[in-house]
Amino acid sequence: MTTTDTRRREDGTRMPSFLTSPTLRFVARRLLYSAVVLFGVIIVVFSIVHLVPGDPVRIALGTRYTPEAYEALRAASGLDRPLWEQFFSYLGNAVTGNLGVSFRNGDPVTVALLERLPATVSLAVVGLVIALLISVPAGIWSALHEGKLSDGIVRVVSQFGVSVPDFWMGMLLITLFSSVLGWLPSSGYVPLSEDPVQWLRRVILPALAVGLVAGAIMTRYIRSAVLEVAAQGYVRTARSKGLAPRIVTFRHIVKNALIPVLTIAGIQLATILGGVIVVEVVFAWPGLGRLVYDAVSARDYPLIQGSVLLIAVMFLVVNLVVDVLYALIDPRIRLS
């Protein structure tokens, strides 16, 4: 249904005039696509409670189980109603930002998620900056010195970074910078708005733990992107025109190679936002990852559902932004 609709719009026949710009059309299509994915995610998230083995209410109560408490929690979480009714009520609530209340302490899930979001965003953004600062120079350098010793070193180090789990990197950083050198705190979070210096001191180690690993992955992508562009015909043309190597390198190769980096950076940002569970646990960082970890440990299903939904939404938003930026930078994307 949606496909036909989109196609008709592509013909331009029933298109409102403001959507005639190809970029806007692309954005509209991308938004529609995100909405469809989001609907799918909501179905999956809703199903979590119904797919887990055992009765989630019974599991959540554990030793606190009494028949009265069971009935009360079951009614409070709406699990005593027909499935379709539960689904539409979940959908309606989710759209309006109501994700239910935590099994563990009765707090609204939305509030818990929003409380944790700033810590995770700080960590992810600083981590991404570190990853970019490492990977862009290292990847370009390595590609331009292909086959030389320095390329070999970058490749070995980045391979090591790719293979190391981020929690292990975290432990290593704590051992070195907190235990041995005593330069930086090993744990805790101070909001940026409260004390920027303390915020920075505390964000560095966890951000390094995620940034080093992400940086290693991105270095390898950038290296191959640069190598690929360097082999293109227009680069050969530029060289044969007798342009200075420096100009060929930066105007032709690097500029074009950095376009796919945007995608990789977007994917890495989304991955960091959703996947820093273990790093947050290691550094006692009060972000979404820790929340997911605690929710899973406590079998707090509404909280697990809410976290998964929020992480999925962040993925969608980041991907949407990346795709749109990409389309703005590289007009070819819009045509595909």
């Binding site: 109560l61 009494t66 818990a112 944790r116 970074g161 235990s179 705190p185 744990s187 006692a284």
Partner: protein, 506 residues
């Protein structure tokens, strides 16, 4: 290995150079000034702070410092005055009269009176909260006047003091605080510290209560941080960011003990771990088969694997340090004896369904060793590891051959034996029944002479172990570590975290 480290070091140096982070100066960490705040890293976040409703140990670590009970255990776990200055027992042993301390105030300034005691206890009983069973013998709680409370019991109850003072689950709460619902996040007690700030996911800050009846604490307050990863907590302790922690990986205990930067506190706990065989099923209903298993298991290996040697192997529930300890050493590992008992019982091999739970990883580790121990006897152990809620259901429906679990937070000997081994006991899932043990436990429950009581429990415990109602494994240790400059703190066997008497550099 060495090469890997060098590589990582090189890449780290590179990163620091690239990001331009100045890490050249050492950083001043730790508290300063006279009103020092003690920073304590606990291994998890409280689920809520209502002492009558929570069952989480992380909550009690915080609540220990906010609330008081009528009486409280000293370091030997004997009950001492707290909010009650003194108490008297009527001649028929059915009425306990408590004289309350005068001039005590709650953190919000309101006076503490007998009505608060009545309100708190009635709340636990009437709402059937998780600790209501501790009041099972209580008929009524009444305020005689502002500073006198009578507790009437249906039969002599020598363990009443440990029931009402054993832990902060029996705390005296404030009615208004409960009715407003604030108690779950902003509890108001009469204790040495008052609630100041709670940042979900990160920390809880308490401030010293200058009006505390036991004298104002020497430190200015406590900040509880939630650090579940033991290595992080230890790093934070060593670098001075935190002053105290119990988030310690057991495998690090040995190396930490030799570290001058930390003080280790280790004390055998009153918790115990055990095995129980289902006596409603054959062949486990044969006492000889149960004894054979008791002889076959290697307790030392289990202790080593589950706790890196920090726990103490035992054959009865109560540890050696307790005044209620009874000597007993029947079951040394002896496969010949085990085989002889099985032969006598006519047992010719078979499978054993062992119920443990992934929520308590020590049970899974121990199960693997037990499986190995029982194999030479022709017993194939099938290990099941459901989550704890399912484990409880399976236990309650009797769907197991053998199970492993622990009893945590015991103080009075009644806590160790009655509900587990009395025919009508609420936790006798293994189906043990011996009229002689029932009689001893019933008598001990109402015996007010401590020596006579101790003797009754010693007899009951010996029979219980002889007949392998429970096969006892070990008492884990309470393991804590703190800043050597901290004085006045001790690791307690009941795991109560009391910071009211600590000071820095004292």
């Amino acid at each position: 290995m060495r090469r890997r480290t060098a590589l990582v070091g090189a890449s780290l140096a590179g990163v620091l150079a690239v990001t331009g982070c100045s890490t050249g100066q050492s950083v001043d960490v730790g508290a300063d000034g006279s009103d020092e705040i003690l920073t304590a890293a606990i291994a998890g976040e409280p689920d809520q702070l209502d002492p009558h409703k929570t069952t989480s140990y992380f909550s009690f670590e915080v609540l220990e410092n906010i609330y008081d009970t009528l009486v409280e255990p000293d370091e030997n776990l004997e009950m001492q005055p707290a909010l009650a200055e003194s108490w008297e027992l009527s001649d028929d042993q059915l009425t306990w009269t408590f004289t309350l301390r005068e001039g005590v105030t709650f953190h919000d300034g309101s006076d503490f009176t007998a009505d608060d005691v009545v309100y708190s206890y009635d709340r636990i009983i009437d709402e059937e909260l998780s600790n209501a069973w501790k009041f099972s013998a209580v008929e009524s709680v009444e305020a005689v006047d502002d500073y006198t409370v009578d507790i009437t019991v249906t039969q002599p109850t020598p363990n009443l003091l440990s029931s009402i003072g054993g832990f902060k689950g029996m705390a005296i709460v404030e009615k208004e605080n409960v009715e407003s619902g604030d108690i779950t996040t902003d509890p108001i007690g009469t204790g040495p510290f008052s609630m100041e700030e709670y940042t979900s996911g990160d920390h809880i800050t308490l401030a010293a209560n200058p009006d505390y009846w036991g004298g104002a604490p020497e430190i200015g307050g406590i900040e509880f941080q939630f650090i579940s990863e033991g290595s992080t907590a230890i790093a934070a302790l060593k670098s001075g960011e935190v002053d105290w922690t119990d988030s310690i990986p057991t495998q690090q205990v040995e190396s930490l003990s030799g570290d001058e930067a930390v003080t280790m506190g280790q004390s055998p706990s009153n918790d115990y771990w055990y095995l129980a065989l289902n006596e409603d099923r054959e062949p486990w209903n044969d006492v000889r088969v149960r004894q054979a298993i008791a002889y076959a298991i290697d307790r030392d290996a289990i202790v080593q694997a589950t706790s890196y040697g920090t726990a103490t192997a035992n054959q009865l529930a109560i540890p050696e340090e307790s005044v209620w300890y009874t000597e007993y050493d029947t079951y040394s590992t002896d496969l010949d004896e085990a085989q002889a008992l099985l032969d006598e019982a006519g047992f010719e091999g078979g499978t054993l369904d062992l119920l443990v739970t992934s929520d308590y990883p020590e049970t899974v580790t121990a199960a693997q060793i037990i499986a190995d121990n029982l194999e030479p006897l022709g017993i194939t152990v099938e290990i099941r590891t459901p989550d704890f809620a399912t484990w409880l259901d399976e236990q309650n429906t009797g769907n197991f051959d053998m199970l492993m679990m622990g009893w945590l937070g015991n103080i009075d000997p009644d806590d160790f034996y009655y509900s587990q081994h009395h025919t009508d006991g609420g936790s006798n899932a293994q189906g043990y029944s011996n009229p002689e043990v029932d009689e001893l436990l019933d008598a001990a429950r109402v015996e007010t002479d401590q020596d006579a009581r101790k003797d009754l429990y010693a007899q009951a415990a010996t029979i219980i172990a002889d007949e392998a109602s429970y096969i006892y494994l070990y008492n884990p240790s309470v393991i804590q570590a703190w800043n050597p400059e901290l004085s006045g703190y001790e690791a307690r066997s009941d795991r109560a975290i009391r910071f009211r008497d600590v000071s820095f550099g004292g």
